[in-house]
């Protein structure tokens, strides 16, 4: 097939906060021939629909809404004259860094890139992944889909709402639906704790008297064409519904807020090794994947709570890609890290033998730990340690190891958490 072909030094897939920050940083590091591809009609990613405030405290020292935060980076992209294409969906990527995208205005286009930054973000777990029975009727949405309907399209999904899962998107939508005139009857959480921020529980549920039911789940769904109600029940320690605890709630809408998964079909196509722990690419401390010249950042790498950290991580990916393009040798051998006690979704997951700078490890605590100690060990030697008053799965934790500590040690590296008492 005779396809139009473009040649760029750096291709950035995804125009959300990660792609935008990566592009700016790469441009500032001297990369001039670059291109951002975004499948939606506008830049900004998921932030376009996050109209609530709470973004940017770290980056701009002020509290912005999602669209405002995105607008600052979009303005920067435009100032720097960085080329981008919206309505351009990347449909394939090869290990040789050849991408193909489909665009309404250009048709099918191939891009040969010197380096690629994967910044595709994540998507919500669909209801099929839930094992909830009988859900062919209308009225069941992921919380993010409902957010898009209400905030971007001005349509209301329904009037009487139950929310399954207490992730932040669900909490934010409980308030938004209430503001838009709906009645939110309950937020049902199967775990004994919420993965959402305390602030969101207080300001999105408690403020409006919306009950948050822990150790509860939806066990049945009623209605033929349109949802008419759900049955909820308490669960035991093994997450099995306890007979006799069922209650029926009449509602016309069920929102699912049960977690996010990085969107990595393209990464897999390009031969990028994916981590079962994060769902994202396995990267080293330079955000490089196992495929030379392919980097990854933002929610496609691991699900972040704060967009500020996405921007910071993405800027680093931009710099690293620029260094790769300027011909700097990439790290040779890489050593795997071990996610020790209490640590899951560790990023980076591998390390070059001789890191060239301090390395910050990010992870999700497996449970709630009070008076915790986070430590990095290598061959019995402690490289870094940090105390934390509280760690919870809902908030990403981090620890930094100084560069010289790596030089003075050998062997396996482990990051772990333990409770040490007051």
């Amino acid at each position: 097939m005779n396809m139009k072909t473009k040649r760029v030094d750096l291709l950035i897939i995804g125009g959300g906060p990660a792609g935008l920050a990566a592009a700016c940083a790469a441009r500032e590091a001297g990369v001039t021939n670059l291109l951002i591809l975004e499948r939606e009609d506008a830049l900004g990613g998921i932030l376009r629909q996050c109209i609530h405030n709470g973004f940017g405290l770290h980056t701009f020292q002020e509290e912005l809404t999602g669209p405002e935060y995105a607008a600052r980076y979009i303005a920067r992209v435009q100032e720097l004259g960085i080329p981008y294409e919206c309505g351009a969906m990347v449909i394939s990527l090869s290990p040789e860094r050849r991408a193909v995208y489909v665009s309404r205005t250009e048709g099918i286009v191939a891009v040969e890139a010197g380096a690629v930054i994967l910044a595709m973000g994540c998507r919500e777990r669909p209801r099929g992944a839930l094992g909830t029975p009988g859900w062919r009727c209308a009225g069941i949405f992921t919380a993010g889909t409902a957010q898009k309907l209400v905030n971007l399209e001005g349509r209301m999904p329904g009037k009487r709402v139950v929310i399954l899962g207490s992730g932040d998107i669900g909490l934010i939508m409980a308030r938004r639906m209430t503001f838009s005139g709906a009645k939110v009857l309950a937020c049902v959480e199967i775990m004994p704790y919420s993965s959402g921020l305390k602030r969101n529980i207080v300001q999105c549920l408690d403020d409006y008297g919306i009950p948050l039911l822990f150790n509860h789940t939806v066990v049945d769904i009623h209605g033929r064409e349109r949802l008419t109600g759900v049955t909820i029940a308490e669960v035991d320690g093994k997450k099995r519904p306890i007979p006799g605890t069922e209650q029926e709630i009449a509602c016309d809408t069920l929102l699912l807020s049960v977690g996010l998964i990085p969107e990595n079909e393209l990464s897999a196509m390009a031969g990028v090794a994916l981590s079962p722990a994060t769902g994202g690419p396995v990267v080293d401390e330079t955000l490089a994947t196992n495929v030379p010249g392919i980097f990854s950042c933002g929610n496609v790498l691991h699900v972040h709570d704060l967009v500020d950290f996405v921007s910071a991580e993405a800027a680093r990916a931009g710099e690293m890609a620029a260094r790769f393009l300027s011909g700097e040798k990439t790290a040779g051998e890489r050593i795997p890290l071990i996610a020790g006690n209490g640590v899951s979704a560790l990023v980076p997951e591998v390390l070059s033998k001789r890191p060239e700078a301090d390395v910050t490890f990010m992870f999700r605590p497996r449970a709630v730990y009070r008076n915790a100690r986070i430590a990095v060990f290598r061959g019995g030697k402690q490289l870094a340690v940090k105390r934390a008053r509280i760690l919870a799965p809902g908030e990403m934790a981090e620890i930094t190891v100084k560069q010289d500590a790596f030089c003075e040690s050998e062997g396996e590296l482990t990051v772990s958490v333990e409770e040490v008492g007051a």
Binding site: I51, N53, T65, N151, G154, F179, K198, G394
Partner: protein
């Protein structure tokens, strides 16, 4: 009177118990640090919230996102939403444009948080 609340100052989420006589908080317990005591005082005597909302755009299906420039009294949140429900703006609109001045006499303006049109 005893009042229970959850501190949002950090992920500890301390359960606070405050002694509140209707005008003043005289005692706070359960707080892990000073932030909790301050939070309980403010939350009970003068609770405020930022309001982010949507307003209609003339000639368009999609709404415009807006926010209060500063937090307003919590008890006014729904009145503020109702006031915004009566607003329809004509594009083009730029980030920061005032959509509703001095909402409910609070001295706080409601401004656009995105660009629409032109």
């Amino acid at each position: 009177m005893k009042r229970e609340l959850t501190c949002i100052g950090c992920p500890m989420g301390c359960r606070l118990t405050a002694e509140f006589n209707g005008t003043e908080v005289t005692e706070v317990t359960g707080n892990g640090c000073a932030v909790g005591a301050r939070y309980a005082r403010e939350e009970l005597t003068n609770p405020k919230r930022m309001v982010t909302a949507l307003v209609r755009v003339v000639g368009m299906e999609r709404p415009l996102s807006v926010k209060t420039e500063a937090p307003i009294e919590k008890r006014l949140v729904f009145d503020c939403l109702a006031a915004l429900g009566a607003v329809a703006v004509a594009p083009p609109v730029r980030i920061g444009d005032v959509i509703l001045e001095n909402v409910l006499g609070t001295g706080v303006n409601v401004v656009a948080t995105e660009d629409i049109g032109g």
